[in-house]
């Protein structure tokens, strides 16, 4: 009994199902965070249908499409890295996490050029060019920058999580079946992907 007291193991106990549950609960909060934005989008799209239609034609659906492919692929490499780790292949797992990171970086680079192009055309929040346009277009681009911006922020957070996990794998933090941290990071990464799956049609495809 007394031996048990000296360690503080209880504060660091392990229960993988519980850890995953915590992450799922957190993902609910993320879904609802974006859910608020989707509601705002729906309300304004309903109110300004024609202007949303016009403004949407100014986005490059090709860039959006490429970014969708990039993120979907990154979700695949993410899932594969977990399986690799579970099968004990540390090197492959690290390579796959790195691939995920590179794809995430490529997504952000694409995003950067897309935004920069808009800025070059004088379209950014509060710009004189945008202020001369009808309100529906102001709202469309306002939502576009806010929603894709918040999503990009989540990509950055996800990359930070993945980078931490990369160092965990390298330092042999994961032993045996204990891969739950990488799994929860993977769950988060899939959410980032999922949000994009909704953003892409709403802004790029729905003309």
């Amino acid at each position: 009994m007394s031996g048990q007291w000296e360690t503080q193991s209880v504060h660091l106990h392990r229960d993988d199902a519980g850890s995953r549950m915590g992450m799922w609960l957190f993902l609910f909060t993320e879904l609802i965070l974006f859910g608020g934005l989707f509601i705002v989008y729906a309300v304004y799209r309903y109110a300004h249908q024609a202007e949303f239609h016009l403004a949407a034609q100014e986005l490059h659906s090709t860039i959006g499409f490429i970014n969708t492919i990039i993120l979907l692929t990154s979700s695949m490499t993410m899932a594969m890295s977990i399986t690799a780790l579970q099968k004990g292949n540390k090197a492959l797992s690290m390579a796959l996490v790195s691939a995920t990171l590179i794809l995430a970086g490529a997504f952000l680079v694409n995003k950067f050029f897309e935004w920069a192009g808009k800025f070059a055309n004088g379209i950014y929040p509060g710009s004189p060019e945008l202020m001369n346009r009808p309100q529906g277009e102001v709202l469309y681009f306002g939502l576009y920058f806010v929603m894709t911006g918040l999503h990009a922020l989540h990509v950055v957070i996800g990359m930070a999580l993945l980078a931490v996990n990369l160092s965990f794998i390298k330092r042999n933090v994961y032993t045996g079946e204990n891969t739950v941290k990488l799994e929860t990071a993977g769950l988060y990464w899939h959410l980032v992907d999922l949000i994009w799956i909704f953003l892409f049609p709403l802004f790029y495809l729905l003309h």
Binding site: M1, Q4, W5, Q8, V10, H11, L12, H13, D15, A17, G18, M21, G22, L25, F26, F28, T29, E30, I32, L33, F34, G35, G36, L37, I39, V40, V43, Y44, A47, H48, P125, G126, M131, Q135, G136, V138, L139, G142, L143, F145, V146, L150
Partner: protein
């Protein structure tokens, strides 16, 4: 319910040696009890800041025209009173202090599921709180929008809206993490034999609260973020001059802020459900109904936000639906009140301070609830909207209800937390001051609001003055009572009589561990074989005595 206690030689959690020394033993602790104590100190401090702002506002209103401050100061005071009391006191108060300290013990666990996350949420709370206080002193002046941050004023005013919004955003994050932690803890860490319906009612209420925290708080997060973005970048999402819709802001704001009142009141209801059976020496009446009604309140409470906006512009159909749902949500609340009263019936009642606060809770919460039904009715709301009637209703629920629940919990669990007992007589005198002062402060607001006194006004017509004088005098009695209460508790902490393991005769698990509890709560995790409020031994004794 658990087997006989064996005295351990382990130091209690206050004195235990951990890997960190000095102040770091607290600031880096992962122990849910220490985190609960740190929350308690911070939350009570913020409460007194908010209370002083409230007393100053009341003093200003003792006479029409200027009394002690300029109108702009008054606007900032009611805003900060609201922000502090809501985001820093009453939303986190009960889950963060008593939930942290007692949830793991009550379900027979050694800690919460995510101890490190728990510490993080304390830090987020402190950062948010300090940011809110700092915004007072930054150039630009204290925020003056009211705690509701209504558009378009909140994107036009030059005061420090962004620091205040950031503070509320960070505090929301802290609240989400606490809720997430508690839900996972309750799902994964109950002791053997502690099935859902052997769980005490305080964990039940925290469970329902946790879901509301998780599902509602992100909405306020994104909404406040959008207001900040609107102020900085003019994206137009809320700004009417760019096509935005201020009423949409109100919808989003209340989609969180109405469920937030259930984040506030549900744990208080849980606390009352703990206290009543102990001081009536009776098994709680209708255990399952109380447990389920917490879930029902959480569910229906998430669907009634529109009743804050009956005069803001909404379709008649929507108004009818929101009004109807508002009436529905009163049913589970009433079920709880009936069950508490039925538990008291023919009980062997000990009128100690915790029970007195609980009884005041029941009466004041009922007044708050009934007046809530009045203003949830469409026709009456047109008359009472934006009057001090609303202020009175709100304070009867949030202060007369939740605030008193917090005080009840402080007096109930104090001996377990600090290992000592406060002066019981002084506690009752303080209770009398707080209760009389509370009712004298807020009841006149019902009357003057009904007569047409608008809320948030700096000045008023002379005919309202008698009510304002009564209310202001009430605020002095109330504040005196609060000071008396806190001084009594601090004295008890330092030099009170040593408290035993179970000073009140409670039957839940926290009364089976040492006072104060050791670091890991239980030497061996107990196996639970009965429900939480087993007073059959008293009931049998009572029958034998007849």
């Amino acid at each position: 319910m658990a087997k006989a206690h064996v005295t351990s030689h382990e130091p209690d959690f206050w004195n235990v040696q951990t890997e960190h020394k000095g102040i770091w033993a607290w600031l880096l602790t992962k122990d849910h009890k220490r985190i609960g104590i740190m929350y308690l100190y911070a939350i009570v401090s913020f409460f007194f800041v908010g209370a002083i702002f409230g007393v100053l506002m009341r003093l200003e209103l003792i006479a029409p025209g200027k009394t002690i401050m300029e109108p702009q100061t008054y606007n900032s005071l009611f805003t900060l009173h609201g922000i502090i009391m809501i985001f820093l006191f009453v939303i986190p108060a009960m889950p963060a202090v008593f939930g942290n300290f007692f949830l793991p013990i009550q379900i027979g666990a050694k800690d919460v599921f995510f101890p490190r996350l728990n510490l993080l949420s304390w830090y987020l709370y402190i950062i948010g709180g300090l940011l809110a206080i700092t915004s007072l002193f930054l150039p630009g002046g204290p925020v003056d929008t009211g705690w509701t941050f209504y558009i378009p004023y909140s994107i036009r005013t030059t005061t420090n809206v962004i620091p205040a919004l950031t503070a509320a955003f960070i505090l929301g994050f802290s609240s989400i993490l606490t809720g997430l932690n508690f839900i996972t803890t309750i799902h994964r860490m109950r002791a053997p034999g502690m099935d859902w319906f052997r769980m005490p009612l305080f964990p039940w209420s925290l469970y329902a609260t946790g879901w509301v925290q998780i599902l509602a708080t992100p909405i306020i997060g994104i909404t406040l973020l959008l207001v900040m973005i609107e102020r900085v970048f003019q994206v137009g999402i809320f700004d009417p001059s760019l096509g935005g819709d201020p009423v949409l802001y109100q919808h989003l704001f209340w989609t969180y802020s109405h469920p937030a009142v259930y984040i506030i009141i549900l744990p208080a209801m849980g606390i009352i459900s703990e206290i009543i059976p102990v001081f009536a020496r009776k098994t709680i009446f209708g255990y399952k109904f109380i447990a389920y009604s917490s879930l029902a309140i959480a569910f229906f409470g998430s669907l009634v936000w529109g009743h804050h906006m009956f005069t803001a512009g909404m379709s008649t159909t929507a108004m009818f639906i929101f009004s109807f749902l508002t009436f529905l949500v009163s049913i589970p609340s009433a079920i709880k009140v009936f069950n508490w009263v039925a538990t008291l019936y023919k009980g062997s009642i000990a009128l100690e301070a915790p029970l007195l606060y609980a009884l005041a809770f029941i009466i004041q919460f009922s007044i708050g609830g009934f007046t809530g039904l009045m203003i949830g009715a469409l026709s009456i709301d047109i008359h009472l909207q934006d009057t001090s009637f609303i202020v009175a209703h709100f304070h009867y629920v949030m202060f007369g209800g939740a605030g008193f629940g917090f005080f009840a919990a402080m007096h109930y669990w104090f001996p377990k937390m600090f290992g000592r007992m406060y002066n019981k007589k002084t506690a009752i005198v303080a209770w009398a001051h707080v209760t009389i002062g509370f009712n004298l402060t807020y009841f006149p607001m019902f009357i003057m609001g009904y007569l047409g006194m608008p809320r948030r006004y700096y000045d008023y017509l002379p005919q309202f003055q008698p009510y304002h004088i009564a209310s202001t005098i009430g605020s002095w009695i109330l504040f005196a009572g609060l000071v008396m209460m806190i001084v009594n508790l601090i004295r008890g902490m330092r030099s009170g009589e040593k408290a035993g393991m179970d000073p009140w005769g409670g039957t839940t698990l926290e009364w089976t561990v040492d006072t104060p509890p050791p670091l890991e709560n239980f030497e061996t995790i107990p196996t639970v074989t009965t429900g939480p409020y087993d007073y059959s031994r008293y009931e049998i004794a009572a029958k034998e005595a007849q």
